[in-house]
């Protein structure tokens, strides 16, 4: 587990892998994710090499001639951060084999938004995982194409307003549920995969450590609000993700080579309605005559997902599908 004192040292020595001066919006949760991932890696003695997919985090942190990245960094395109990092990782193995470099501490971290992960980058991610590259993929999930102005993605939840499937007189907006991305990744089997949230830094750090130590592909999906397009106050992103966990909207769990584990089990849960009504992006939904029906469906869905997770945890306990990639 990254030691809090080490983390403080990095902060006090101003030794940030991801430094200040970026131009993400006030209150954006993406930089927290970038920071924690790289700080955790450094405090565990690794030297992170980072790849970022096109999206808010990328465009706001590397406006030439400036960069917020104090560690080696590559952006290639929108849909290919996993393939790009897989190539860098292959180069690392090759150059080590050929004794052209002598450094065992490098760890590759790919970071993508939900568009770059659930949608356009899914094939690249799947290929890189299937090939078993040693890298950690971090998804900052803000549930939409936010960089380009809140277009719908495969992660946008039903009822949330977006500019490419807006709620209008003749349309009820997006009705499809979001993809269960961690299940998709877990379907690759030889992988470590987990969910995380910005309100639970230690849970994230622990998972990050697991991911870094896992010899093969690892994936962490972090619910990371876009305060602007979720229509919430700037300072409420973290609070909102806390509520997402407390309402079963975004359970915290992990999957390790077939074994499921729920990493946070709240004693009591709040109704999902509490989460939904906090987010301005659902205002139009809440005004619809069938709002309660839709909410009820969502409540049933999150209940079923939670029960399923507990059952999977029980079923797979000490029963890994594989012991190596």
């Amino acid at each position: 587990m990254p030691n809090i004192r080490d983390l403080v040292d990095y902060v006090e020595n101003n030794d940030w892998a991801f430094t200040q001066g970026h131009r993400l919006c006030p209150g954006c949760n993406a930089p927290m994710v970038a920071n924690w991932a790289t700080l955790a890696a450094k405090s565990l003695g690794y030297e992170p090499v980072v790849g970022v997919a096109t999206g808010c985090l990328e465009v706001s942190t590397t406006i030439f001639p400036y960069t917020s990245w104090n560690v080696p960094y590559i952006h290639n395109a929108f849909e290919n951060v996993a393939a790009t990092i897989s190539g860098a990782e292959a180069a690392y193995r090759s150059l080590k084999n050929r004794k052209k470099i002598d450094n065992d501490k490098i760890k590759f971290i790919a970071i993508g938004g939900d568009g770059g992960t659930y949608d356009i980058g899914l094939q690249s991610l799947s290929g890189a995982i299937e090939r078993g590259h040693d890298f950690v993929y971090i998804l900052y999930d803000n549930e939409g194409y936010m960089n380009t102005g809140n277009q719908r993605s495969g992660s946008t939840p039903p009822g949330a307003d977006s500019t490419t499937e807006p709620i209008g007189k003749a349309s009820s907006g997006k009705l499809q549920l979001k993809k269960s991305i961690v299940d998709i990744v877990a379907g690759h089997e030889g992988v470590y995969a987990a969910t995380a949230v910005t309100s639970e830094p230690w849970d994230f750090m622990r998972k990050m450590q697991q991911a870094l130590e896992f010899r093969g592909p690892a994936f962490i999906a972090v619910l990371a609000p876009c305060v602007r397009f979720w229509r919430i106050p700037d300072d409420s992103g973290v609070e909102v993700t806390k509520l997402a966990v407390e309402t079963k909207y975004w359970p915290l769990w992990e999957y390790n080579m077939g074994v499921y584990k729920v990493t946070k089990k709240p004693k009591t849960f709040k109704p999902v309605k509490e989460y939904i009504t906090k987010l301005g992006r659902y205002n139009k939904l809440m005004k619809r005559p069938d709002a309660n029906e839709i909410l009820e469906e969502l409540q049933n869905y999150v209940n079923a997902k939670w029960d399923r997770l507990l059952a999977l945890e029980e079923l797979t306990k000490d029963k890994p599908l594989r012991t190596k990639i």
Binding site: F64, N76, G87, A88, K100
Partner: protein, 389 residues
């Protein structure tokens, strides 16, 4: 000592790759490039090379992975054809602007649709403005040689550009022919080791690859790409010279065949040049003053060399194995534009041939030459060889 191998062109290219032994190869199979990847995979499997092969799930990922690997300081290669190139084209441009000297044999095939797996140059023309150096090769020997030459040129510090080596799908890639393979050691020494200035793996000196480059710098960076391409043009004669020393084969921007006293010249790329040389020989026997130019380098376009070679000729027929719908064919338009500045411009003819692998016979080549002798060339009238109208 060099050895003669009688193999397919795909095998010849794979042998060049084996001798270069890049750090990383990432590729995805597509006819007619597939055997290049298969041979290489066999070399890896048999321990003949210690390259890390990344068997990606698509060409888009092949180019993405070699960009990642090259940025990490590796010498990298991939290979593709037609639809594979089209799928990766977004990253083909990115590779050039990141100044990564990736080497890619392109086994020329028609770019769909409808689906056609046979040879033409529509795939290469898709990438003509991507910022890659583009070589064209007539046969196995050239495909092999230029894979080695490309590696040497691409990595020059004042160049740092990716390069593709075009060879004709099936005709060259699958046809069996002899070529002379240099010694492994000679090739190894010729290409040397690749020591990039910047690498993702240099954690002591972190750099940001691929930042957002807005209106205040992007333009200058693209101007630098042009400079690099000019440098490639300047460096090429030196590389050709060095290659001649190890191989005895002296290349130039243009392969000039019997052009010295020729009144009528044909320009054609890749394997059809062999057919055209045969026709030139026949016509010479009939007393016709004809010659052939086969460009080996398409990008940077050897404009000066064309001016010198074509100034004062009576007629020039240019054969394109690709179309540029609604505009002049690619090779024709570049040559025509090069001739704008020469004092004595020849008459020009534009001929499209061989699309989708349509066979191009000596008779068709002869017809284009005959149009030239019979003073039957009309500038910008696009004609078609072997087409049923």
């Amino acid at each position: 000592m060099p050895v003669k191998l009688t193999v397919t062109g795909a095998h010849a290219v794979a042998q060049a790759m084996r001798q270069i032994n890049p750090d990383v190869v990432a590729a995805y199979p597509i006819t007619p490039q597939t055997p290049v990847v298969e041979y290489y995979a066999t070399f890896v499997a048999d321990g003949m090379v210690d390259t890390i092969l990344v068997p990606v799930e698509s060409e888009h990922s092949a180019m993405s992975a070699v960009v990642g690997a090259a940025a990490a300081g590796a010498r990298t290669m991939t290979a593709t054809a037609a639809n594979g190139l089209a799928l990766m084209i977004e990253i083909v441009y990115i590779a050039a602007s990141y100044r990564l000297p990736i080497i890619m044999p392109l086994v020329n095939r028609a770019l769909s649709g409808p689906l056609n797996i046979h040879c033409d140059h529509s795939d290469a023309m898709l990438a003509r403005d991507s910022g890659w150096i583009q070589f064209f090769t007539e046969n196995h020997q050239e495909a092999y040689d230029f894979t080695i030459i490309a590696t040497k040129l691409a990595e020059k510090e004042n160049v740092l550009l990716p390069a593709m080596v075009n060879l004709d799908g099936f005709i060259t890639s699958h046809g069996v022919e002899s070529f002379e393979m240099l010694d492994d050691e000679v090739v190894k020494e010729f290409v040397g080791t690749w020591n990039p200035k910047y690498s993702l793996l240099d954690t002591e000196n972190p750099v940001t690859f691929g930042p957002v480059d807005l209106f205040d710098y992007y333009f200058e960076h693209h101007r630098q790409q042009e400079e690099a391409m000019n440098n490639a043009y300047e460096e090429l004669p030196k590389v050709f010279e060095e290659f001649a020393k190890i191989s005895g084969r002296k290349y130039d921007f243009l392969d000039l065949y019997k052009t010295d006293d020729a009144d009528y010249i044909m320009v054609v790329m890749n394997s059809t040049a062999s057919t055209a040389k045969y026709v030139v020989d026949e016509l010479r026997e009939e007393g016709k003053k004809v010659g052939l130019i086969k460009p080996q380098v398409f990008t940077p376009f050897p404009k000066k060399e064309f001016q010198k070679a074509l100034n004062g000729r009576k007629g020039v027929v240019i054969l394109d194995r690709a179309m540029s719908f609604g505009k002049e064919a690619p090779l024709y338009s570049l040559i025509k534009s090069a001739l704008y500045e020469v004092p004595s411009r020849p008459k020009l003819g534009s001929y499209i041939y061989g699309l989708g692998g349509r066979n191009t016979s000596p008779k068709m080549i002869r017809q284009a030459f005959e149009d030239a002798f019979n003073d039957n060339l009309v500038a910008d009238e696009q004609r078609y060889l072997g087409l049923r109208e």
